[in-house]
């Protein structure tokens, strides 16, 4: 985490900030979701509390906090309370592994009468060498929260919902895991940093000795792996139990799925978990297929930004902060657009039937992902990219 106490402290605070950022995004997203759905369905949505209904969030929070607290009679209290807490963990832990901008350089400074630094602070929670595997591994822990909730409630509907949700999640985890093999083949790395760095600049690749350059397109993974990107995004929808894959909730037959017995703040934590999944999925999609924090305009590279910052008269520390913030903005915009896409899809598409859902996962997406892998490998071998 760091070499001395201050660096450890900075990193710790950074982690907390990233987590809080994720938590804070949720009320905003809830608002966007409600307003967005209203917009799509041609109604008004929350508009009474505060301007544009923005303060609705605050009112909701207060309402959640004052809900009455009890454990269902047949429930297992420990699991009942553990489940919402644990719902928070995988999303945040996985999200922290994804780089959001270039690192910050901190000059030497004085604190407590001692000189500290210089430090290089990564614009991510922590850099993991095998980041892709790490994120997949941590995300796969999300199933437990659902299973614990389903079991801990002591209700057959919630248990059934939990089983359906987890069966769905693991089914789509196959397609998810397989759809990124193509990206791994192209990059030969599990490291998000390296994968993002490879997507810098204009679209350029070597095909059987010919170098092809498309100056107006960025060198993003989505252009190399369109099928992989599509499958990945679809699997992300299923992984976060969003419509059109929200079979776990199934209002008609399961009344709300695994969190039927939950209310108040515990329910909110589940919401945070679900949005956390969306955020992790989106940012992983960005990192693998949409060039990470790089701008969609091939001309604006981090080097160019650094050059501008130097021109503006910043020192090394200032340059790094300037660059990182601008790049973070790029990342943030992509994330926001993708999250909007999630919401948009949710209110546009109807729900699948459960057998259709399983068929899609096992019989459509898995074979396509396999085909994608094989074709990618053969093309790489032939063209020796």
């Amino acid at each position: 985490m760091g070499s001395d106490i201050v660096e450890i402290g900075i990193n710790g605070i950074k982690l907390v900030l990233i987590f809080l950022m994720m938590v804070q995004a949720v009320p905003i997203l809830v608002w966007v979701e409600r307003r967005g759905s209203a917009f799509i369905q041609n109604r008004l949505g929350p508009n009474r509390v505060g301007p544009l209904g923005l303060l609705q969030l605050l009112a909701d929070a207060v309402k959640f906090l004052t809900k009455e607290e009890f454990v269902p009679a047949k429930g297992v209290p420990f699991l009942y309370y553990m489940a919402p807490i644990f719902a928070l963990v995988p999303g945040a832990v996985a999200f922290s592994a994804i780089p959001m901008a270039t690192p910050l350089l901190i000059d030497r400074f004085e604190l407590f009468g001692q000189m500290w630094g210089p430090y290089t602070i990564l614009f991510q929670g922590y850099e993991i060498g095998v980041g892709v595997v790490f994120v997949l591994g941590i995300s796969s822990l999300a199933t437990y929260s659902i299973l614990m909730a389903g079991w801990g409630s002591g209700n057959k509907y919630s248990l059934l919902g939990a089983l359906r949700a987890s069966a769905q999640i693991i089914s789509y985890e196959l397609a998810l895991g397989l759809s990124i093999v193509g990206v791994l083949l192209l990059n030969g790395s599990f490291n998000f940093g390296e994968i993002i760095a490879a997507q810098q600049g204009p679209l350029a690749f070597t095909f059987i000795g010919h170098t092809v350059t498309v100056p107006f397109l960025p060198n993003w993974g989505v252009f190399y792996q369109p099928i992989g990107a599509l499958l990945f995004l679809t699997a992300c929808f299923a992984e976060s139990n969003r419509l059109p894959f929200d079979l776990a909730e199934g209002e008609a037959e399961l009344v709300a799925g695994f969190h039927v017995e939950y209310g108040g703040f515990k329910m909110l934590l589940f919401f945070i978990g679900e949005y956390g999944h969306m955020i992790v999925g989106s940012s992983m999609f960005i990192a693998l297929f949409l060039g990470g924090y790089h701008f969609p305009f091939p001309g604006i590279t981090p080097e160019v930004l650094r050059y501008y910052a130097t021109e503006l008269g910043y020192g090394p520390q200032g340059v790094s902060i300037f660059t990182a913030l601008i790049l973070f903005l790029s990342f943030f915009v992509k994330l926001a657009l993708l999250l909007w896409f999630f919401i948009w899809v949710r209110w546009t598409l109807p729900r699948f039937r459960y057998d259709q859902l399983m068929d899609l996962g096992w019989k459509t997406m898995l074979p396509w992902a396999l085909a994608n892998t094989i074709i990618t490998a053969i093309v790489i071998q032939i063209s020796k990219i």
Partner: protein, 178 residues
């Protein structure tokens, strides 16, 4: 006490406690969740040993797949806290406990009395790379050259198991239908 040492002792403690939990929890579901915890801490221990890829695989395969299966089956079977979770028989029980203790004691004693193995060569080793990419690549190279036969055989084994499991799940249970 360095960070490494702190991490190790912390993880060792959590691993021990959760492993103990697997054995002593009367409710199988708690046992299973305890085992999940053990798996996660063992993954962390792998990471302290610079086997990052294996740590990830441990999370995906064990924590994310195998234990999900266990928990799912336990929930499907609707198994609650068992009144008699342990086998009866005070004598054999104590013998078994003694055996377990003896085994652990013997190994721990033997290890603690032995000298540090491999201390000299551990510095320049390939497994010591910080990011784990090199060791993962070396693992892949090895897997596809020296262990290629085992690899392919494993593929076939998995196929056989997939077929067998479907057959088992289909069976109405037992060959002697009365």
């Amino acid at each position: 006490m360095t960070t490494d040492a702190f991490l190790f002792w912390f993880l060792a403690l959590v691993t021990f406690i959760s492993a103990l939990g697997v054995v002593v929890f009367a409710n199988p579901i708690f046992s299973a969740l305890s085992l999940v915890m053990t798996m996660v801490t063992v993954a962390a221990l792998f990471a302290t040993l610079n086997a990052f890829f294996l740590a990830g695989v441990q999370l995906i395969v064990y924590a994310g797949a195998v234990m999900v299966l266990f928990v799912m089956v336990l929930m499907l079977f609707d198994l609650h806290k068992e009144k008699k979770a342990f086998t009866q028989g005070a004598f054999s029980g104590s013998v078994k406990l003694l055996l377990g203790g003896l085994l652990a004691g013997l190994i721990v004693g033997a290890v603690s009395m032995s000298k540090e193995l491999y201390k000299a060569i551990s510095d320049q080793a390939v497994t010591n790379s910080a990011t784990g990419i090199e060791s993962t690549k070396a693992l892949g190279q090895l897997l596809f050259t020296q262990y290629i036969f085992s690899f392919e055989v494993l593929g076939i084994l998995l196929l056989v198991i997939a077929i067998g499991v479907v057959a088992l799940a289909r069976s109405k249970g037992g060959t002697h239908v009365k």
